[in-house]
C-alpha cells in the first residue's frame, strides 16, 4: 500500500480541518480553561462531530457508522492536534468504539455502538494505575462475587473519565502484576455504587480523572471479551490509542513548527530577520526533517494496524516513540525561538508544549516504546 493518503482520506482531512479550525481554534481551549468549564469540552461541537460522521468513523456500518479504520482516525486526530481541541474523540470514538467492536458481544455492540455513533454516549478507558504507563502491572482486583465480579482498586489518567457514561476498566481476575494472563476488561457504569470520580485538572487543560473503585459490583454480562483473556484485546486497544496519539503529536508538531517558522520570518534583531541566522536555520531544518520522518512512521503504523493488528506492534512502538521525541523537540524549539514571547501565557505556544507533555506520557513514552522494540527484537 502506498504510504500516502488516498483521495478519500485527503477529503476527510480537509473536512475535519475545516470544521476544527473554524470552530475550535486554540482560543477555544483557552476559553474553556479560563472559564473553568465543568465539562471541559464543547458538547455542541461533539454534536457537530456526530453530524459530520466523525463520532461513528470506526463504528461498523450496521450500527450507523462508517466502518473506517485507524488511518482515518489518525487523520482526524492530526487535525485535533493542530488546534489542541479538547474532544472525546480519542476516548469515545477511537478507544470506546474499538473496545466494543473488537471485544463486545452482540448485545453489547447493539446497546452502545449506535449511541456512540449518534453522539449520545461517551466512553473512557481506565488502565493506568501508577505514575507510568505499565499496563501489564495492572493490580486492580476483580474478584468473583455471586453472578459477577467485585472491583477494587484505583485508576489514574482516565482520559475524559469525568464525563463518561461508560467506563472500560482493566482489572485482574487472575495472575499477578507483570503477567498478561488474568487480565479482564469490564464495562462499568460510572454511576454504580462504589465508583468515585475525581476530575483532575491537568497541565494541558485537557480532560482526565482519577477513579476509585470500592467493591463495585459488575454483572458477568458486563465482561468485555473473555475472562482472564483480556490482555490481548487490551494490547490491541492500546496500540490503536498509541497510533491515534502519535497522529495527534504529528499535527501538533507541524502546527507549532509552522508558527515558529513564521515567527523566524517576522521577528527582527540586530537589524535582521532572525530567520537569517544560520544557527536557527539549521535547527529549523533538522526539526522539519524529524517531523516528516515522524509523519511517515505514524502513517506506516496506522496502515499496519488496519492491515493486521496482531503484527503492528513494532510499527506502533516506532511511531509513538518517534512522534513523541519529535513533538518534545518541536515544542521546546517553539518556545526557545519565540524567545520571551514563548514564555507568556498570552501566546499560544505554551499550550502546545503542555499538550505534548501529556501526549508523550499517554500510553507509554518514548523510553517505554524503545524498550518494547528492544524486547521484540530479543536484546
Amino acid at each position: 500500500m502506498a504510504l500516502v493518503l488516498t483521495e478519500e482520506q485527503s477529503m476527510l482531512r480537509d473536512s475535519a480541518r475545516g470544521l476544527i479550525s473554524d470552530k475550535a481554534p486554540v482560543s477555544h481551549l483557552r476559553q474553556l480553561r479560563d472559564n473553568k468549564d465543568a465539562t471541559g469540552f464543547s458538547r455542541d461541537l461533539w454534536k457537530d462531530f456526530a453530524e459530520m460522521g466523525f463520532t461513528g468513523l470506526l463504528v461498523p456500518e450496521e450500527f450507523g457508522g462508517s466502518g473506517l479504520g485507524c488511518v482515518e482516525a489518525g487523520v482526524v486526530m492530526e487535525e485535533i492536534g493542530r488546534t489542541l481541541m479538547p474532544s472525546p474523540f480519542l476516548s469515545t470514538a477511537v478507544l470506546g468504539v474499538s473496545a466494543l467492536s473488537r471485544g463486545g458481544s452482540a448485545a453489547q455492540k447493539a446497546e452502545y455502538l449506535s449511541k456512540i455513533s449518534a453522539g449520545s454516549l461517551l466512553a473512557a478507558l481506565a488502565v493506568d494505575e501508577g505514575a507510568k504507563h505499565r499496563p501489564l502491572q495492572t493490580a486492580m482486583q476483580a474478584a468473583r462475587a455471586g453472578n459477577g465480579f467485585r472491583l477494587k482498586g484505583a485508576k489514574a489518567l482516565v482520559v475524559d473519565g469525568h464525563t463518561a457514561d461508560l467506563l472500560i476498566v482493566a482489572a485482574r481476575t487472575g495472575g499477578s502484576p507483570g503477567e498478561a494472563a488474568g487480565l479482564t476488561l469490564f464495562l462499568v457504569n460510572p454511576k454504580a455504587k462504589g465508583v468515585a470520580t475525581e476530575r483532575t485538572i491537568m497541565v494541558d487543560a485537557h480532560n482526565a480523572a482519577r477513579i476509585a473503585f470500592d467493591d463495585v459490583e459488575v454483572d458477568a454480562d458486563h465482561v468485555l471479551g473473555e475472562v482472564d483473556q483480556g490482555g490481548a484485546l487490551l494490547e490491541n486497544l492500546l496500540n490503536i490509542g498509541r497510533g491515534a496519539v502519535a497522529s495527534e503529536m504529528v499535527g501538533l508538531s507541524e502546527e507549532v513548527f509552522g508558527r515558529t517558522v513564521t515567527y523566524l520570518k517576522e521577528r527582527k534583531q540586530f537589524g535582521k530577520l532572525i530567520g537569517e541566522f544560520q544557527a536557527l536555520q539549521h535547527r529549523a531544518a533538522q526539526l522539519y526533517i524529524d517531523i516528516e520522518i515522524s509523519r511517515a512512521a505514524v502513517l506506516k503504523a496506522l496502515q499496519a494496524l488496519d492491515a493486521d493488528i496482531e503484527k503492528a506492534d513494532s510499527a506502533v512502538a516506532v511511531a509513538k516513540a518517534k512522534a513523541g521525541t519529535t513533538a518534545t523537540r518541536a515544542v521546546q524549539e517553539g518556545v526557545q525561538m519565540h524567545g520571551g514571547m514563548g514564555m507568556t501565557d498570552q501566546f499560544d505556544i505554551g499550550f502546545f508544549m503542555k499538550r505534548a507533555r501529556v501526549c508523550e506520557e499517554l500510553f507509554g513514552d518514548a523510553n517505554f516504546h524503545a524498550d518494547r522494540l528492544a524486547r521484540s527484537r530479543s536484546y
Binding site: 530577520l273 536555520q281 531544518a285 526533517i289 511517515a296 506506516k300 528492544a374 527484537r377
Partner: protein, 394 residues
Amino acid sequence: MSDLDQFRKETRAWLEANCPPEMRKAATADSDVFWGGRNAKFASDAQRAWFERMRDKGWTVPDWPKEYGGGGLDGAEHKVLREEMGRIGARPPLSSFGIWMLGPALLKFGNEAQKKEHLPKIAAGLIRWCQGYSEPNAGSDLASLQTRAESDGDHFIITGQKIWTSYANYADWIFCLVRTDPAAKKHDGISFILFDMASKGVSTKPILLISGYSPFCETFFDNVRVPKSHVVGTVNRGWDVAKYLLQHERAMISGMGDRGVSRPLGQVAADSVGSDDAGRLDDAMLRSQIATFEIDEAALAAAAERAVDLAKAGQSHPAFSSAMKYYGTELNKRRYEILMSAGGIDALEWESERSGGGARPRAWLRTKANSIEGGTSEVMLGIVAKRILDLPGA
C-alpha cells in the same frame, strides 16, 4: 488477483529460482559488490550467474525503458521487485554510478543518440563511470569549479583537476562538470560533458584515507580533447543537469546504510557484550542507545518508502532528497559509533585475520565521509532551510 499481485507472485517465484543462495546475504567485502566495466571480474560463479540473469531481464535497472536495456517496470512494479528482493535479502546484481547518477540524468537531459549509446552499456555493466564534480577549491561551493573547457572547432580542450573522484582509477568513462564560459556568473558558465578516461591527457592518483583504503582519486586533465557532441543538455546550462543528478546521488547515499538486510543492531551487540538472564543486552545504557537508534532507523525506512510514493503521486518536493541525505548519513554514522562501542576492544584491531583485516573500524571510519560527500550535512540543512522552509537570506 490484481495484475500487481500476479506480478508479485511471478517475481517471487522467479527470484526464488534464480537468486543463488550466496547472493542472499549483505555484501561485507569490497569484492562482494559487482561494479561492471571493461576490466570487471566476478568474485564468484554465483555473482556472475546472478548478474547475468538479472541483466537478461533488464533488472539491473528495473525502471528504465526496455529500449535502453531496462526492465520497463512502472513505479508500483519496481516497488514490488524491491520488496521481494528485500524479503530474501538479495544483493543488487550490479552497482554503479551509471545506474544511480548518470542514467537518470541522461534519461532526463540526454539526446537520443546519447541515450542509445550509453544507457544500454550501463545496464549491461559494460562501462563503469565515475563522477568529476569536486575540485580542490570547489567542495561545498561546487559551482565555483575552475576546470576549463576551451572551444577548438567541434571539440573542447579540457584542462584542470578534480578531487574525491570515486574509483576514478577503475572507471572507463567520466561525467564531468567543466567551465565553458569563464565570463558568465558562476552557475551559468558550466557544462556537463562525458568522455573516455582512456583519452590522452587523463591521469588519476588514489588518495589514502583514514580507513586505510583509497576509494577516491585526484584526477588530472591535461589538454584532453572531447567532441562537443558529448555535452549533455545545453552548453553553459550544465548546472541544471548537475543539480538533478545530485538529487539522485543524495538519495543513493541516504540509502547506503545496510538497513533491513542485516540483523538488528542489538543482536549484533549482544554477540560481544552478552545478555542478562532476562535476555536483555548486558549493558543498559548501550541497549537504550541502540533501541533509540532502531526507532530512528525504522522511521527513516518509512520515510524513504513514503518519499518514493510521494514522488509517484507527484507530491514530492524536489529538495526533499537533501532532507533524506542529511538524516540517512547522520544515522549511518551513529550506527557505526554504536557498533564500535558494542565491539569494544575487539573492534580496534586493524590487521588481524580474526578481525577481517579491521573490517569494522575501517567501515566505521568510512562512514565519516557520508555526511561530507555529495554535499555536507550543513549544505543539506541550508538547502532545506532555503528551498523548503523559505527562510530569508539563506
